[in-house]
Amino acid sequence: MPAYRVIGTSPARADAWEKVRGRPIYAGDLAVAGMLHGRIVRSPYASARIARLDTRAARALPGVIAVLTAADVPRNELRMELPGRMAEATAGAVLATQPALAADRVRFQGEPVVAIAAETPEIAAGAADLVEVEYEELPGVYDPLAALDPSAPRVHDGGNVLRRWHLRTGDVARGFSEAAVVVEHTYRTPFVDHVYLETETGLGWIDAEGVLVLRVSTQVLEHYRDVAEILQLPHGRVRLEGTYLGGGFGGKEDVTVECLLGLLVWKTRRPVQLVFSREESFIGHGKRHPYVMRYRTGATRDGTLTAVEAELVSDSGAYAALSPWVLLYSLVTATGPYRVPHVKVDATTVYTNNPVASAYRCFGSIQTCLAYEGQMDALAATLAMDSLALREKNFLRKGDALATGQVLETEPRLSETMRRAWAGLGEPRSPRRPTRIGRAVAASFTPYGRMCWTRDSASAWVGMELDGTAVVRCAAPDVGGGQTSSLCAITAEVLGLDVAQVVAVGRDSHFTPRAGTTTATRQLLMSGNAVLNAAREVRHHLLAAAAALLEAAPGDVELADGHAFVRGAPGRALTMASVVKGAIAEGRPVQALEKYDAPSAPTIDPLTGQGKAFNDYTFGTHAIEVEVDEETGRTRVSRFVACFDAGRVINRASAEGQLEGGAVQGLGYALMEEIALENGVSKNPHLVDYRIPTSLDVPPIETLLLESGDGLGPFGAKGLGEPAMTPSIAAVANAVSSAVGARVTQLPITAERVRAALGSPA
């Protein structure tokens, strides 16, 4: 491994110093003189016709500036469009567009109906109470399997099937005929919420050029286009200014406040702030898709997998959002990180009148992990085999093909991640009644970087200042994972600077080079490589300038510690400031705008799933120990070890932080969290009754990071953000299953479900 000065260390992140001081860096921390306060009136019904809508009383309230309805929206449909081969990728799908404000019909509880702007939050709330809406409830459909019935109420005119994908390889009938054992289980997961601590927030105004500026907590600065489309403005007339996010996890990937805020600012010509309450956050934005997954897995007596047949149905809720792509991730990951010669997977995402489901960390690859890893432990039990040995026998290796036909070009190191995670659990403990102890692993693979058909690209600018410090300009939103600080670390490494000598400024759709979304675990790969390319270009110019000044060959000059020096002669050195001034005096550039284009490929075949869906994957394992109280069914996670191949660690504390945070978010999903719905209406849209893990609910997370150097990112890095969470729910389910001696197949694994499993035959 090459020696790095900055890469792989844990310098305190620049944003951390601002954050511990409580500095106003978030979207809700800036106020503008004359600012109005926005408020949204939402549907209390999951399926209803708007029979009458009267805003006169609300408009008459003193201090109310605007009360807007669907009639005020120039183009009332939010399209979900990705660049690349969109038409090809969506052929055959029923892509229902979502209105910014519902016109005649509401399709989910929380759907926006009226947008209000007023002088104070209190007046806005008063106006919301004065809006009169008469709803006529309509029959709805609240179960994705029921929605597939042709006689079910239709959520949209095109029918309830939004998108199907299929995966076919080999001959699944032959695969099962070759199997000595077949295990079959159906796995179920619920709607869950991101619960970032900062709710959806934005502030907007119109600037001196007449450009609508929105300062928003978003993972996607490119939503300026959606606002422009809604308002029928040229795209260049809407600008999105990114802020540090108080968490995202995919929930700020779809449009949240942007269009409603843009509409209010544009119509009132006044600055407006819009902050969703926690309840609005629960009912108003996209959730994780519930899945029903029926799996049959066959193996020979020695544990060699012969066939997997799976049927996946996901609940998209009332609109399309990103459901087709979430489902594609499920399809590609359906068979897990294993060699399976014969595969048949049918995946369907279905409209219902439940909350809209869309992006959430792991994006469809976590539900399938619950199933494929549950199947591996079930197989091991049936075969009376060690479950780690069973996995090892079937793990993908370099040169093997996924079920999609994509051949792995590097070694996944699955066995190493699994063995190290398992060893991290330590010596087995003997339980004392009524406590039972269960231990298990779950291995996983998760894409990092977008789907190949999107032709993903990121750009970045790196430049030197006269004092020898450097500036990075790159429109990569920082959701809290340390995205900005990693770009600084990459630049510092290449230019021989300390991280404190590099500043990354601005995340802005119009002022900084476009870097794309902070989603899909893509930012280190994409912006990281763009910054790396730009920094290397600057380095090239600095080396040439330093060589001339030091009377040496450029190849003999090294940059380190803020200096340029001749290798082997540290006395022949110049400060970076003198090098920069020298370069400028000679007319050499000291800045560079570069980009990184991810490798591209056509869409996978929708009928067979064959093709290259993603450029690369991150592999890793969770090993978990649980203590189950056999009297109460209560489960406590006592040990948790995460081991992943990070490719290369950029900031060690940030990388560990991703693994630790992903693990705990997964524990909440596995054991505690569920949006309780009754005919599409949430019964727990508050933190009091939607509980997430506290410091007392989780153990310390032990993290182990391998560095193969095999990733496509800077210095061989892979992505960790989403992969860090993928195996968690399967590892918990497997550990609980092992403790109770029966398969647990439904989340959340509540005490009631554990008690039921304890009562069922092993």
């Binding site: 951390a16 409580g22 601590l197 945070g661 989780v698």
Partner: protein, 153 residues
């Protein structure tokens, strides 16, 4: 209504409507944006500040209730340009990711260390149980508090 209190060690005389919470007073009245809204229901702990050294939920407590009391917010942890050891420890140990829960965490931890300068891991986890974090998984937060404890060995 008129309010007199001690804010971050200094006397503070201000006006606030009767229905304002401490959170409204800090953010809208006094322009101290370090204290955050997380749920408005006293559950998440994001808005935690100290009143006479004890953690309170700024979103639940009416501003009138802190009349005459000593309030400390995240902005008051730094003294004479020197960060509190907890702030340094959080920054250096990766305990702040998105940072939104950080002000509340810091103040809950500050109250703990004032009572118990040498807490155990369990003491720290107990003291922070009312402050939700969705990013870090708590591991680095607990480590940062332990490292900043004045009685730490």
């Amino acid at each position: 209504m008129k309010l007199e209190l001690t804010l971050n060690g200094r006397p503070c005389v201000t006006e606030a409507p009767g229905h304002w919470t401490v959170l409204d007073l800090l953010r809208d009245g006094l322009n101290l944006m370090g204290t955050k809204y997380g749920c408005g229901e006293g559950v998440c702990g994001t808005c935690t500040v100290l009143a006479d050294g004890r953690p309170i939920r700024a979103c639940l407590v009416l501003a009138a209730h802190v009349r005459g009391r000593a309030l400390v917010t995240v902005e008051g942890l730094e003294r004479d340009g020197r960060l509190d050891p907890l702030q340094t420890s959080f920054a250096e140990r990766g305990a702040a990711q998105c940072g939104f829960c950080t002000p509340g965490m810091l103040l809950a931890a500050k109250a703990l260390l004032a009572q118990n300068p040498a807490p155990t891991v369990d003491d720290v986890r107990e003291a922070l149980a009312g402050n939700l974090c969705r990013c870090t998984g708590y591991t680095k937060i607990v480590d940062a508090v332990l490292a900043a404890a004045p009685g730490a060995r």
